[in-house]
């Protein structure tokens, strides 16, 4: 007879326990419960998956062996960002989010999981300070997702069906937004239309924006910094033009810039969206991304049409004590199913706690300094790379941490350059040649506070050798 196996994660796999429980419910075998599933719908075979690796040490060896085939950004220098950026993650951030209580909690109640809700409220509050906006919702999947949701939100608020976006927008983000705004064949489709950019700077062309604005435009979306790294110099003008046309202004923003860049609220944006990944998340091959939506709260329509969960401070029977509750919950898909505002679901709760801790330890001084370091080192890098024969730095010289490096003068493709850099232990910039053919053989390079002058110098010498 086969020896019964007791699994460490399944206490009731002990035969005596099983028997005692079956006896209690008057059954001889679990199969009697599965009699609820008709024979024709039962799976008769044995699942075609590998036999178990039971010992924890053996499993560790096996999975580590697979992960060891990866090369990480701790082993190589990484100058690729493009929407997932390598910033330093303070140890204290990891310490907090690895706490068992936060790691393992789900949707427990307002009292029993109070700490989770308070951390969430503190995240919203701190991000609100960075953005200069009063309304911040509970983040969800990533920037592209919240861009699409912001477009839908603006369309509901204005009753209009066209959204203008910069042609330099990240094609990946745009693809997510397009999925959310539906193909043209659907009657409820929202039309997304690109606004041209100034080829010298990358910034939105105000004349083209004015041409494309009209009474059917729900929102004008702009990014600051843009996907291609530059600071959108025409931000104020874009907001004014949108408002003059009765449209909303949506500011896509990388929040780590906001110690030094003007925040969406100050620029006059109605809605802001972006990714909190730079605020204390490891990259996790993109899994560190998480998208936020924030908005003005001087008109309740913004909160009412926001698709994501909102939390507010409440009182308790104890004077001076705070509770946190979900506000206007009825409007979400949990309240109204298909009549709700888009949908909500398990999103990125742990990342919001990481970002809360990050914003706390950084404080106003940390954000100012990280901004200054990103600008200084990325500009230093651009200067060094720009001196290499055959290399040109493209678009506006006003950038935060990313910039476009062109190799046309060297007669090399980005793919060739990156392969050779890889051999030297460097991940080169994101290849833009397919996304923006008009930029030729260009790559988007990223230099953050994570890498120091010596790292940048190493990149410059490697590139010089590669292009020689």
């Amino acid at each position: 007879m086969k020896k019964p196996f007791v699994h460490p994660y399944i206490p009731n796999s002990v035969p005596a326990t099983k028997q005692a429980m079956l006896r209690e419910i008057g059954l001889n075998d679990v199969e009697e419960i599965y009699a609820e599933i008709p024979e024709r719908l039962r799976f008769k075979g044995r699942l075609d998956i590998p036999e178990p690796i039971l010992a924890e040490r053996d499993l560790e060896r096996h999975v580590k062996g697979l992960l060891d085939k990866n090369t990480s950004c701790e082993e190589f220098l990484n100058f690729c960002g493009a929407g997932c950026w390598q910033h330093y993650v303070p140890a204290v951030v990891d310490e907090v989010i690895n706490r068992a209580e936060f790691l393992s909690a789900y949707c427990g109640g307002d009292y029993s999981d109070l700490g989770k809700y308070q951390a969430r409220f503190e995240f919203n509050s701190q991000l609100g300070e960075l953005l200069d906006l009063d309304g911040v919702a509970n983040p969800i999947y990533d920037w592209g997702d919240v861009a699409g949701r912001s477009f839908r939100m603006a369309s509901r608020i204005t009753g209009r069906k066209r959204v203008l976006y910069p042609r330099t927008m990240s094609p990946m983000r745009l693809a997510e937004a397009r999925t959310l705004c539906q193909p043209e064949i659907m009657p409820t489709h929202i039309k997304l239309e690109a606004v041209d950019y100034d080829p010298a700077t990358g910034c939105i062309d105000p004349a083209d924006l004015r041409r494309k604005l009209g009474a059917d435009v729900a929102a004008v979306y702009f990014e600051n910094p843009g996907y291609l790294g530059f600071i959108e110099a025409n931000a104020a003008e874009i907001v004014q033009a949108a408002h003059a046309a009765g449209a909303l202004a949506i500011n896509g923003v990388d929040p780590i810039t906001l110690g030094v860049l003007a925040p969406p609220g100050a620029i006059g944006a109605d809605i802001a969206c972006g990714d909190i990944q730079p605020l204390g998340m490891h990259m996790h091959a993109g899994g560190g991304c998480s998208g936020f939506i924030a908005f003005r709260d001087d008109d309740p329509i913004f909160a009412q049409e926001c698709p994501l969960e909102l939390y507010t401070l409440l009182e308790t029977v104890v004077p001076g004590e705070y509770a946190i509750g979900e506000a206007i919950a009825e409007r979400t898909s949990y309240g109204l199913r298909d009549q709700g505002k888009d949908w909500v679901g398990t999103a990125s709760g742990l990342w919001t706690i990481a970002a809360a801790v990050y914003m706390t330890v950084m404080g106003p001084q940390g954000f100012k300094e990280v901004g200054e370091t990103c600008i200084a080192r990325s500009h230093y890098a651009a200067d060094r790379l720009g001196q290499i024969p055959g290399v040109a730095i493209k678009l506006s010289p006003a950038f935060f941490k990313e910039f476009v490096v062109n190799f046309d003068g060297a007669g090399k493709t980005v793919a060739e350059v990156n392969k050779k850099l890889l051999a030297k232990g460097i991940f080169g910039g994101k290849d833009l040649s397919a996304e923006f053919p008009e930029l030729g053989q260009s790559a988007l390079y990223c230099v953050t506070e994570y890498y120091d002058q010596a790292d940048v110098d190493e990149l410059a010498s490697a590139l010089k050798e590669v292009l020689a």
């Binding site: 044995r46 690729c80 920037w143 500009h379």
Partner: protein, 539 residues
């Protein structure tokens, strides 16, 4: 130590059972109570939590003032009012908040039905925190991501075997996101066949998760919701009446939130297929059917799994999560890009998919969850997965036995039929008898160190609902304790109802009041700055 562990186990069970009968397993619990102010209230001007790297003098000399690169109107003029606080004080604050979070590792999350609160092995956390997993850029050369791609590819193969489906994407960032992906894939399928926009109706059931209704609506479908028949099964006649040449498909759960397995599910699938529609089953709660029944075998064209539920990822205060979306061949061309492929020796990302819906998420997805699911499946093997399912349904039926013996508790629908992994109970009788409803009981049970239960999705078709899901993680003693807590709260409702209605009594804060602030634009405050502006300015 005894030579007869089984005898010891039996003795222990007997002792626990006695304790349970006497109410002795109830804990004298009190949650940590730190009276912890908001972090914004703890700011001390000048303090800081960390030093960040500063540009080297040579760098600064070369580039000058960094602010000069920012166009004049776009410089930040006022520093953000973030807290200024030293590192220990910041850490201590968040640790206190963590202590004021019960969480699953410390508590007993049997009550959080539809959430499958199973144990998440600690080894997995070590694996995903390694720089070989955490510090990878998604756009790295594929040659430097071979280990990750191999894990994801193989995990996909296992999930295909478990569901019987033929293709998979692991891009969605959660269960509802995978369900949304399905709505988009079905939309693309009918667009490709030239049947849009007229085939624009999606059928779901009221006991299917709200996302099965909400996400097809976002995708542009008109949603038809079928109510249950007298036995709690989705009404087959209503489905037949709902289908037409406009039917794009159905998006339904089985077993539904009620835990009732619909034994005629293949007939529903046939009705939809006969009308030219496609069938998706929401398998957020697949724990009771692993190795027992497969979606494809019931005729479904697509299904999904939540890797943070059935496949062990920790829930992380509601994410990040991973949705696995699986399809039959006919829907495979429409999956989002990129997919992970293998040419026999090398793993690669496949972007060359002209009929793809495009993207639902940036980059690759939340593959932390895939690494964990891979490790968990490898640890379980085929027999282990089946054991998970069997113990889940055994636990559920054992708890069911205990709960139905408690005054005021009933289990609507499908009399004489067993439930699989979870049950939706009703406290309607308790409410009628005592005036104490399910929300009050929920807020009382936490006084015993047990996580508050999940009541129900809206609308409450079952009155005064609660929905436990005692998955394989929980021991018999855990189940006994959970039932004892519900019994205690029920007894109190009948004998000293004020004890329940004034609960909770042992939590970090007292009972919440003035809930009208949740709905009032003049009072709601989504951030501290809004609170200061709205509330403090008024008082």
């Amino acid at each position: 130590m005894s030579d007869h562990p089984e005898n010891d186990t039996a003795a222990k069970l007997e002792r626990l059972a006695t304790l349970c009968r006497d109410g002795g397993v109830l804990r004298d619990y009190h949650a940590p109570r730190w009276n912890e102010p908001l972090i914004m209230e703890q700011s001390v001007p000048g303090e800081r939590g960390i030093c960040v790297p500063l540009a080297e003098p040579e760098v600064t000399d070369a580039v000058g003032d960094p602010h000069a690169f920012i166009p004049a109107g776009l410089r930040r003029t006022e520093a953000p009012a973030l807290p200024e606080i030293a590192q220990h004080q910041a850490l201590r604050h968040y640790l206190r908040l963590s202590q004021q979070t019960l969480g699953m590792d410390l508590g007993s999350d049997i009550g959080e039905g539809t959430c499958t609160m199973k144990y998440s092995p600690k080894l997995h956390e070590e694996l995903i925190r390694s720089h070989k997993a955490a510090d990878l850029h998604p756009l790295q050369d594929e040659d430097t991501l071979q280990g990750l791609l191999e894990i994801v590819y193989n995990c996909g193969e296992y999930l295909k075997a478990i569901s019987g489906m033929e293709a998979i994407t692991l891009q969605p960032g959660g269960g509802s996101h995978a369900v949304y992906t399905n709505a988009c894939a079905m939309r693309a399928y009918f667009a490709d066949k030239g049947e849009l926009p007229h085939r624009n109706e999606m059928i779901t059931t009221i006991f299917s998760h709200p996302c099965d209704a909400a996400t097809p609506a976002v995708a542009g479908f008109k949603v038809i919701t079928v109510m249950p028949d007298a036995n709690g099964y989705p009404d087959l006649e209503a489905v037949k009446a709902a289908v037409s040449e406009r039917t794009a498909g159905c998006m339904i759960t089985n077993p539904e939130d009620t835990g009732i397995y619909n034994p005629r599910i293949d007939e529903y699938v046939e009705v939809i297929h006969d009308a030219g529609g496609l069938c998706f089953t929401d398998q957020a709660n697949a724990n009771g059917i692993l190795g027992i029944a497969r979606a494809r075998d019931a005729g479904f064209d697509a299904c999904h799994f939540n890797l943070h539920k059935t496949f062990s990822s920790p829930h992380g205060c509601e994410g990040p999560a991973t949705g696995a979306y699986l399809v039959a061949d006919k829907l495979a061309p429409f999956l989002p890009v990129p997919l992970v492929g293998c040419d026999g020796t090398r793993y690669f990302l496949d972007y060359d998919r002209p009929l793809s819906i495009g993207r639902v998420r940036g980059f690759l997805g939340n593959w932390m969850g895939v690494i964990r699911a891979y490790a968990w499946i490898r640890n379980m093997g085929p027999d282990g997965l089946r054991e998970v399912a069997e113990i889940s349904v055994l636990n559920n039926n054992y708890l069911d036995r205990l709960l139905l013996g408690i005054r005021g508790v009933s289990r609507p629908y499908a009399e004489g039929h067993r439930r699989l992994d979870q049950v939706r109970y009703s406290l309607e009788q308790l409410k009628e008898d005592t005036g104490v409803g399910t929300e009050a009981i929920r807020d009382r049970m936490i006084d015993f160190g047990i996580q508050s239960y999940w009541m129900s999705h809206h609308p409450w078709v079952v009155p005064e609902p609660f929905t436990p899901e005692p998955c394989e993680t929980y021991s018999k003693a855990d189940l006994d304790e959970w039932a004892a807590v519900i019994k205690k709260a029920s007894d109190e409702a009948y004998e000293t109802p004020d004890t329940v209605t004034s609960a909770p009594h042992s939590q970090p804060i007292g009972q919440m009041r003035r809930l009208e602030a949740l709905e009032d634009p003049k009072e709601w405050a989504f951030t501290w700055r809004a609170y200061q502006r709205k509330i403090k300015a008024r008082s």
